[in-house]
């Protein structure tokens, strides 16, 4: 199905199943421990061996020798695979740094060998016997802030230079010029990267893995092992979180496949938790200079955002300016994303890449501007709303209701009742503050395919290589098929994550929910057409599907009857047309936060959070809410605690486990409320839906930071807002 114009009224609009809060259909499996994750697939292959990697002890240099004799002689060891025994293996096009092969070390904890043994215990112990000698480059300077002079433009995004920023900024009566920093962050999904690999006699490879993008992993494995796509099968039905860390092939699948090839037996490999932060990807640190000029009534006349981040050579780092060309009005604009090559581990996508860190800065800057203008920060944002691309005014937003988010949020939160004097409200030992921020995240779409089977018993099966990384894909896909075929959700079986199924959008960039359900919609439309043909070539558009029956011209037939002679299948994919480039598609939210800061110690406790979201049709309000509150939790972490600590001499992340890198725990999270506006975006998909998986993370950290300022009167522009940054300036006790 080509999606070449905004959607009109269609069967998905009925709203009998779609749009209704629906408990996850995979919930009983997950809550009882029966959902199988990658490392646990005892059933898929007999005689599995365990692989345990050896990781580089240096950040940059060359391997001069790997002595694996002792490891090979250790009890239970079947094979040792050394990086130096082979050329650099191919990677996926999205990867920046190769995973294995050769003697070059490009980052700390790069995999340099794999020990394969009869047990996990034996493999782990023998990994400690592999001795690796290096020719290491000595101490260098891995501090981004000292490398600004080598900054270069990003290859992925051009500068935006509209009007005359310099002149407008110079003329503006009210201006702001501040620099903000965000640290490196790690995804820290709960399930480590893991794969089981097996080769068959014909040289075909099967990998049971934990990946967000099944087809990208197929492509990556083809590249690494010189295979054709039909020689590779990937299966990933359950994924214990990804947040971008599992978008592309990683070392676990490469190593498992190498181990399996060397031993002729299935091999499973999980990355040990302490190696994940440095071996895999992270969100890059950013240094952001923002300048805003406004006239006295608060209209922005000039805005500039310079965003610096780091990457391994060839990568794209973190584009913190991503939202700034589009979020607020202003005729004169200068947006300059910049990159520095730095041999830290591979910087790459983490949930809401770009906007997550960009809004951490921009939305503090907006708060600061509102204060300079003497305006309510909600009103300042409303005044500078835009319904068109500010740099290209003939390009409208497809559907933008940011102002409604702001107004509804302010009302619901009781924003008008807050104390507006920073540091002016105290309860006992606690300083109380309120803050808000806006959120913007692009609404990408990706072509997505699916196959639908109508079984002789009148129930349906959907197959697609789409993944459910906690996003609720199983359930919204079941809802979509149920809506289209007049079935109950419990009459739809959903099979995901297998490369034998049609290629889908996969999960990333909050494009998964709208894209994959559009693909299922397309396959269901095709099935409806086949049913129409079987009912005597009636007009498919006239069919009414309900309660397991289809009605055409007053005649009702059960789906079971129609498929009585055998399963009916229909496969299709949605292909999004170029008309989507003529509009700006995005999601919006307004965040409101109340928090308390301990006047003595500077400890911060968030008390309540509210997000009002505009993201088109909400397919399943129950799981969509979970996506948003989950994003808010991650954003609270970004605001208050999360930072990969760089050893700036050696070039690695020093706090590389879950004790050293703190993410929010339950005690950090109090009341959370989410409101979805009842909107539709016909330009986005046939279901008029947009994703919310990343929206909740966008802007929330700045809302926390703005509330912290309101509580303390101390403006911190360097995330995270740990207590050491305010301690010296807190009031006397």
């Amino acid at each position: 199905m080509d999606f070449n114009e905004p959607a009109g009224t269609n069967p998905a609009d009925r709203g009998t199943v779609l749009g209704k809060s629906t408990p996850r259909i995979d919930g009983p499996l997950k809550t009882s421990g029966h959902a199988p994750y990658a490392y646990e697939r005892h059933d898929v292959a007999e005689d599995q061996l365990a692989g345990y990697p050896v990781f580089s002890a240096i950040a940059r240099g060359r391997i001069t020798r790997i002595d694996s004799a002792a490891a090979e002689a250790a009890p239970g060891v079947v094979a040792v695979i050394r990086s130096t025994d082979m050329d650099v293996l191919g990677k996926h096009g999205m990867n920046v740094v190769p995973h294995f092969g050769g003697d070059e070390i490009r980052h700390y904890h790069q995999a340099v060998a794999l020990v394969v043994a009869e047990s996990f215990e034996a493999a782990r112990a023998a990994s400690g016997l592999v001795r690796v000698a290096y020719d290491a480059e000595g101490h260098a300077d891995y501090d981004l802030s000292t490398h600004r002079d080598t900054a270069m433009a990003r290859k992925a995004e051009p500068d935006q230079d509209v009007g005359d920023f310099a002149a407008a900024f110079a003329e503006a009566p009210v201006t702001l010029d501040e620099t903000y920093t965000t640290p490196c962050q790690t995804h820290a999904m709960m399930e480590p990267h893991a794969s089981i690999a097996q080769w068959d006699e014909e040289g075909r490879l099967t990998v049971w893995s934990s990946t967000q993008m099944v087809n990208w992993l197929v492509e990556g494995l083809c590249s690494a092992f010189d295979l054709d796509p039909d020689q590779v099968r990937v299966d990933s039905p359950f994924i214990g979180g990804g947040f971008g860390s599992k978008l592309f092939m990683r070392a676990d699948s490469v190593l498992a496949a190498l181990g399996a090839r060397a031993t002729g037996r299935p091999v499973k490999v999980a990355l040990p938790r302490p190696a994940i932060a440095n071996n895999t990807t992270h969100r890059a640190r950013t240094i952001q200079r923002i300048r805003i000029g406004a006239d006295r009534d608060g209209r922005i006349t000039a805005i500039a955002h310079d965003g610096l981040s780091h990457t391994q050579p060839g990568g794209d780092g973190e584009n913190s300016t991503a939202q700034t060309p589009f979020f607020y009005a202003g005729a004169n604009r200068l947006i300059t994303p910049r990159l520095v090559d730095l041999h830290l581990p591979e910087a790459h996508a983490m949930r809401a890449p770009g906007e997550a860190s960009g809004l951490m800065a921009l939305e503090i800057a907006m708060d600061e501007m509102a204060e300079k203008l003497g305006m309510d920060p909600v009103e300042f944002r409303i005044l500078n709303d835009t319904q068109v691309d500010p740099g290209q005014p003939d390009r409208p937003f497809s559907d933008r209701n940011f102002v409604t988010c702001l107004r509804q949020g302010a009302d619901r939160f009781g924003w008008a009742d807050r104390n507006t004097t920073p540091g002016g409200r105290r309860e006992g030992m606690w300083l109380i503050g309120h803050g808000m921020a806006g959120a913007y995240r692009g609404a990408l779409t990706m072509n997505s395919g699916a196959l639908v089977r109508l079984r002789p018993d009148g129930t349906a099966v959907v197959e697609t290589d789409m993944t459910d990384i906690g996003t609720g894909s199983y359930t919204i896909i079941a809802q979509t098929a149920a809506e289209m075929l007049g079935l109950g959700v419990d009459q739809v079986e959903v099979r995901l994550g297998d490369s034998r199924y049609p290629v889908s959008s996969g999960s990333g960039g909050q494009f998964g929910a709208p894209s994959s359900t559009a693909g299922v919609y397309a396959a269901c439309v095709k099935l409806r057409e086949e049913i129409a043909r079987r009912l005597g070539n009636v007009d498919a558009g006239s069919l009414d599907f309900a309660d397991g029956r289809v009605t055409a011209s007053g005649r009702s037939t059960s789906l079971a009857e129609i498929a009585a002679d055998g399963e009916i299948t229909a496969e299709d994919k949605v292909a999004f047309g170029e008309f989507q480039d003529d509009v700006l598609m995005a999601t919006f939210a307004a965040h409101f936060v109340e928090l308390a800061v301990h006047a003595g110690t500077g400890e911060t406790r968030v008390r309540r959070m509210l997000a009002v979201c505009d993201a088109g049709r909400i397919l399943n309000p129950l799981s969509a809410r979970s996506q948003v509150i989950g994003g808010m939790v991650m954003g609270l972490g970004a605001a208050l605690m999360e930072e990969l600590a760089i050893d700036t001499g050696r070039g690695f992340f020093a706090n590389h486990d879950l004790a050293g890198y703190e993410v929010p725990v339950h005690a950090d999270i109090a009341s959370q409320e989410v409101v979805f506006l009842d909107t539709l975006d016909p330009a986005s998909t046939p279901l008029k839906a947009k994703g919310v998986g990343e929206l909740g993370l966008c802007g929330i950290a700045a809302a926390v930071a703005n509330a912290h300022y309101n509580a303390t009167g101390l403006r911190i522009r360097d995330y995270p807002l740990t207590l050491d940054k305010v301690l010296e300036e807190l009031p006397a006790i």
């Binding site: 809550t31 016997l129 690796v132 979180g241 725990v665 009341s671």
Partner: protein, 192 residues
């Protein structure tokens, strides 16, 4: 990397076969009411014994270092991190895992409440969360104090603050804490 410690591993004069035998043990314990006997490498954690030997993979390995709580199981009525205890130390113990709490078609009230209120997303921390959630209610009933308990001499009430603090040894990166809270409170009130 680590140096070769082969010399230290075999005691001088010891028969290598005897030495190898000393590195393994037979252990008997009850898992979900069933007596199990396994012969294992002494290094095997309770977590790996469950997942790899008994193939009870509902208990998850998130960090293997006591930093996440995904491996939480109940031993002799108390929740523990199964990654930080050896299987060989569990001889004679009673172990309950998520599989023993309820099955997909016969969920325990806490499991059902997690489904009803969407108290999870990716599901990987979920078995540990549910084991902890049930234990937390028991611990409060038993009067065990927590970091947020006010008067140490008074009866401890089930409050959101108490539940939050006590659930903090189970990290959920998907951030489903608020929904878990709703589920746990519902179960604590005995509501269906």
């Amino acid at each position: 990397m680590t140096t070769d410690m082969t010399d230290q591993r075999s005691a001088p004069g010891a028969d290598p076969g005897d030495r190898a035998a000393q590195m393994r043990s037979t252990v008997r314990f009850t898992v979900n009411g069933e007596m199990r006997e396994i012969e294992i490498d002494n290094r095997t954690t309770l977590l790996d014994a469950l997942r790899e030997h008994l193939r009870l993979t509902g208990t998850k390995k998130g960090c293997d270092h006591g930093q996440c709580g995904a491996c939480t199981v109940i031993v002799n009525g108390r929740r523990v991190n199964s990654c930080l205890t050896l299987a060989v130390m569990q001889d004679g113990h009673e172990i309950e895992t998520i599989e023993g709490i309820g099955a997909p078609d016969a969920l325990d009230p806490m499991q059902a409440a997690f489904v009803e209120h969407d108290g999870y997303q990716c599901g990987y921390c979920t078995p540990g969360q549910i084991c902890s959630a049930r234990a937390v209610l028991d611990e409060i009933a038993a009067g065990i104090p927590s970091h947020v308990t006010g008067d140490l001499s008074a009866r401890i009430e089930i409050t959101e603050d108490e539940i939050r603090e006590r659930m903090s040894g189970n990290i959920c990166r998907c951030g489903a804490y608020a929904n878990m809270m709703t589920a746990i409170l519902q179960v604590s009130r005995g509501a269906p």
